[in-house]
């Protein structure tokens, strides 16, 4: 039963990924490189580069940096409000169910190799890295930094984001001869980061989500106040610890059901032998 539920999540993740990247013409040689229609006014809720040839929506993290643009130094009200709204409704549920890059990492982790368990001493401080990415690379630098020509820069997109390289850079470079001739050190640097991210994903569950992603960090800020929450029925729980053992994000849902690291994948809910865990807008009580 738990496996069936896990498969359903994968189907939803993949379906969403296909639906939001369904601009087939972009992938055809000689076709328009990317979709240019009105749907791109709206951000998709997960990480999805708007320069992906198939993308039908805008990337929230890219859009946020574009709005914080150092030229004007204006606050990004539209995207910040939009993401806060999603975070307040569902928290990191988006990460578990509606993010293509999350799914890609999960699939890479399925490659049968020995898996790496990062010691707590290293794992804990590394988790704060994503907040640094959010507050420094997405908020502060694009807002305050101005080049000699008076222009701003989307620092996270430009120097870090492996999603842009994978979904935008590589397909565009493969499909356009002219672009191939312009590759410089920046592409090589971003390609290097992507390779590290892919390799790490084979051995560590969702390393980009755990340590780097500013969008996951942003949604995580709302996890304790969001409408969708996880609940523990203390009377039903027998403290077997199976939920914590199941969680690949290293959360102990019995102790911290609304941890900012929980991606709401429900694997612990499905694994609990006593149905002591529930997720939703209201708490479900188990009759025992």
């Amino acid at each position: 039963m738990a496996e069936k539920k896990g498969a359903l999540r994968k189907i939803i993740q993949a379906g969403w990924g296909i639906l939001t990247n369904a601009y087939v013409k972009g992938f055809l040689p000689g076709g328009p490189p990317i979709y240019k229609g009105k749907l791109k006014q709206i951000c998709v809720p997960g990480m999805n580069c708007y320069s992906c040839p198939g993308a039908l929506g805008a990337c929230p993290i890219g859009s946020m940096q574009a709005l914080f643009d150092g030229r004007q130094r204006r606050f990004a009200f539209y995207v910040t409000g939009y993401l806060a709204f999603i975070g307040l409704i569902a928290g990191r549920f988006i990460c578990g169910w509606l993010c293509l890059f999350g799914l890609i990492q999960e699939l890479l982790y399925k490659i049968p190799t020995p898996k790496l368990k990062i010691p707590k001493k290293i794992d804990r401080p590394l988790r704060y890295l994503k907040y640094l990415c959010l507050f420094v690379m997405v908020f502060a630098l694009p807002f305050f930094w101005r080049s000699a020509y008076g222009t701003g820069d989307p620092f996270f997109c430009k120097y870090i984001c492996p999603v842009g390289t994978l979904e935008g850079g590589i397909p565009l470079v493969l499909l356009n001869d002219a672009m191939r001739g312009t590759l410089g050190w920046l592409f090589k640097w971003k390609f290097f980061l992507l390779v590290i991210c892919i390799l790490a994903s084979v051995f560590i569950y969702r390393p980009f989500c755990k340590y780097v992603c500013p969008l996951g960090a942003f949604y995580g800020l709302f996890q304790k106040v969001s409408l969708v929450k996880m609940y523990v029925d203390e009377h039903a729980c027998v403290s077997c610890g199976l939920c914590a053992k199941t969680c690949k994000m290293n959360v102990d849902p019995k102790k911290t059901p609304n941890s900012s690291e929980c991606i709401r994948c429900r694997e612990c809910v499905n694994a609990c032998p006593k149905q002591a865990l529930s997720m939703g807008v209201r708490e479900k009580h188990t009759l025992s």
Binding site: S63, A76, C161
Partner: protein
């Protein structure tokens, strides 16, 4: 045990997030997002 935050706090924050979004839309931020998203982002793909 995690501290429970009353649900009215969530509702106030939801209202604030909608107001924030609406203000941004009125300021024309949707147009900025669109113009960024319909052009290939050179920084994103590692060329800019």
């Amino acid at each position: 045990m995690e501290k429970k935050i009353p649900v009215w706090v969530t509702y106030i924050l939801i209202a604030a997030s909608i107001a924030c979004m609406a203000f941004g839309i009125c300021r024309g931020e949707v147009g900025t997002v669109l113009s960024k998203a319909v052009n290939i982002c050179m920084e994103c793909i590692g060329l800019g």
